[in-house]
């Protein structure tokens, strides 16, 4: 394939990325970088915006499925991770897979493959952690939580929490990626949400937080105290959104400073449209 210095720009969706791969093979060119819309820095290389075309993405995905049914699910997960330059990492992996055939998939220690596996492993670990460490607050019978993950975990948390909270109405707000998972009456949606403010707890909520903190402090055996073990099992970056690590006096939930009353003006959904309390009943 001819080497042309070109940068692809795509809309950030998985289908968009597959469309870039399609573009590269049909135009016989190899991109030096693939970036999301708006992330491109001015440079001397040609930048082309690749439109997301469902049929193109399907073509690539069909060819990969023919090699192995596991490839697309793996790549979908890689696309959710925070691996730096994940688009090019995926591109290089796919190029090598096309070249070497399905046997390549057993070369777990290959330099174009192993970083993807490691990133997906970290993603799975984070999902596993958040299934436990996420904390809901109850507002008027509705559950709400905030998280600050490194990877885009909401699509993977969706199945678990929709099952666990089947008969509830809930939302989970991802501060890092500014999106929210909404669930009500058996239907869930993930929508972008620029800013979000959570309401102050009512008396019952405050009571339960106090009870939980007390339980947490009581259940530890002082003679066995082991901060190192706790930290390796539960890294500190999760503590910011966990009830048991918030000040008892603080009436407000974790992100007290920047977050206030989600029913106020800031409580509107972004491109998802509608007010949150309305959208949650969709």
């Amino acid at each position: 394939m001819a080497w042309r210095e070109i940068i692809y720009q795509y809309d950030g969706s998985f289908d968009g990325l597959l469309s870039c791969i399609y573009e590269s093979y049909t135009q016989k060119e190899r991109p030096t970088a693939i970036v999301c819309d708006g992330d491109a820095e001015p440079c001397f290389f040609e930048v082309r915006t690749v439109a997301t075309v469902r049929a193109h993405a399907e073509r690539v995905s069909r060819s990969l499925r023919r090699l192995s049914p596991d490839v697309i699910p793996l790549l979908r997960r890689v696309h959710l991770t925070c691996l730096p330059n994940k688009e090019m990492a995926i591109y290089r992996f796919v190029a090598k897979l096309y070249r070497e055939g399905p046997r390549y998939l057993t070369r777990l220690s290959d330099d174009a493959y192993q970083p993807l596996l490691r990133a997906v492993h970290q993603l799975s670990t984070e999902v596993e952690h958040l299934r436990g460490f996420l904390r809901f607050s109850v507002f008027d019978g509705m559950l709400g939580a905030e998280i600050e993950p490194k990877n885009r975990v909401l699509p993977l948390l969706r199945g678990h929490f929709c099952d666990r909270c089947y008969n509830e109405t809930f939302f989970i707000y991802d501060r890092t990626h500014r999106e929210a998972l909404l669930y009500a009456n058996g239907v869930s949606r993930i929508v972008p949400l620029e800013s979000f403010e959570i309401a102050a707890p009512d008396a019952e909520e405050a009571d339960y937080r106090r009870l939980w903190k007390r339980f947490y402090d009581t259940i530890a055996i002082p003679e066995r105290e082991n901060p190192k073990r706790r930290m390796s099992n539960m890294p500190k970056r999760y503590w910011g959104t966990m009830t048991e690590f918030q000040e008892e006096s603080a009436e407000a939930p974790p992100a007290a400073e920047e977050a206030r009353r989600f029913r106020g003006s800031g409580g509107r959904l972004g491109r998802g449209g509608g007010r949150l309390d309305h959208a949650a009943t969709v």
Partner: protein, 422 residues
């Protein structure tokens, strides 16, 4: 008494129980019920307490008002502590409130013996019925079967709970007699046997009828206290092996004894809990369950206790030089598992990765093999993974140096400079 105080007293009284897992049950959501147990087959940790232990369940006693007088226990009759009990309604509301907020995966309900084992079990059944019935709770429940309770009551308890457990606590009849005069080996083993057959029967029924009652679908577990009485590691590990084999236990937990009372028969109050010993037992437990080791391979009459300085797998490897080195590109799964530094995941990855071509030491590191341990025991296509050829003593010293960083310094202070290495 206020609920906050009750919770404090009854959680404090339950904290010495090591078991806190929500594993083994898979039950999806049900219309109109709260929760599910399908998070994952391995359970789900919701937080870790300051001692680094996983907190999955709301672990409390129903009551700490005990008629027994077991010498090692904080709740014994003769101990001067505040006594209280939850009402079924309080406990149900607390469980639901915590569960909905994703604090916990379910309830771990134990109790002191209130009056008699039967009466205690009846109270536990009433509490769990309320929780499952009126409060529509579909999450995980771990209940303690009280030794000495009648079989019918234990059966009813098992229909409400996902997992049952009976704590053996003291690993031999002699220690039971001296330290827990109200308990006997027979009273402990009888419910364990009943649960074992109850679970098997229920599984067989479920194959025939979909709506057959589910008796403790997540099986049973137990706990052994380490360091309160004089048993050797070998004794404890052999007991563990027979519990996994004969009684089909899902888990055996070990709890390093924390001195809570001054008694001539027990370690003195300033004894530190034997955490390292507990750790070694857990490592050996894993070797029994996932690595195909047997208790008699790990410890024997000549060596009845684990070496605190090295993990049981390394110890075994050093005692069996004839088994090594293992050739990574040809060895079967079972053999790979016996190499220190190779775990279940990395052994499986090796099997996949070597299909396309021979593996080198560099590949192994990427596959997740801990080379600082494994290097002494592996060859890659005939080549030793370490450039140095070390003597037995040299390997042992190196392996110990790796361990030392991870262990509490106190464990090594007693070693003198003149201790022979190896």
């Amino acid at each position: 008494m206020e609920l906050l105080d009750k919770l404090t007293i009854l959680a404090d009284a339950a904290k010495y129980d090591a078991a806190c897992t929500s594993s083994g049950a898979r039950r999806g959501h049900v219309e109109g019920m709260i929760g599910s147990t399908s998070s994952s087959i391995a359970g789900c940790c919701h937080t870790f307490s300051a001692d680094g232990r996983c907190v999955t369940l709301l672990k409390v006693l129903l009551s700490n008002d005990c008629v027994y007088d077991c010498k090692y226990c904080v709740n014994r009759r003769s101990n001067d502590v505040r006594r209280t009990s939850f009402t079924p309604k309080e406990l149900a509301e607390l469980t639901i409130g915590f569960y909905r907020r994703n604090y916990i995966e379910g309830l771990f309900l134990s109790s002191a013996v209130l009056g008699s084992p039967d009466r205690t079990t009846e109270l536990m059944i009433r509490t769990l019925s309320l929780l499952r019935g009126e409060y529509r709770f579909n999450g995980y429940i771990h209940a303690k079967a009280i030794p000495g309770a009648s079989p019918e009551l234990v059966y009813q308890l098992g229909l409400l709970a996902d997992r049952l457990s009976v704590n053996i606590e003291l690993p031999s009849e002699a220690s039971l007699k001296s330290l827990a005069p109200n308990k006997t080996k027979r009273a402990i083993l009888a419910p364990m046997r009943q649960i074992r057959y109850g679970v098997a029967e229920s599984k067989a029924e479920l194959v025939k009828y979909r709506s057959a009652p589910r008796f403790a679908p997540a099986g049973q577990s137990t706990q052994l206290i380490v360091g309160a009485s004089g048993e050797s590691d070998r004794h404890i590990l052999n007991l563990t092996e027979s519990l996994y084999g004969q009684y089909r236990l899902k888990r055996v937990f070990y709890s390093a004894y924390v001195p809570v009372v001054e008694n001539a028969l027990l370690p003195s109050l300033d004894t530190k809990p034997p955490l390292l010993r507990e750790h070694r037992l857990y490592q050996a437990d894993w070797l029994l369950r996932f690595y195909g080791f047997r208790a008699c391979e790990l410890l024997d009459e000549a060596q009845p206790d684990f070496d605190p300085r090295l993990d049981p797998k390394c110890c075994w490897a050093l005692r069996h030089p004839e088994f090594f080195p293992v050739e990574v590109n040809r060895a079967d799964y079972e053999t790979l598992l016996r190499v220190p530094g190779v775990g279940v995941v990395s052994a499986k990855r090796i099997l996949v990765a070597r299909r396309t071509g021979p593996l080198h030491a560099d590949d192994l590191r990427k596959l997740g093999v801990v080379m600082k341990r494994a290097q002494y025991f592996l060859t890659c296509s005939g080549q030793l993974a370490t450039p140095l050829r070390l003597s037995y003593a040299g390997v042992m010293a190196n392996l110990m140096a790796i361990e030392r960083a991870a262990l509490p310094a106190a464990q090594f202070e007693q070693l003198s400079l003149f201790d022979r290495v190896g």
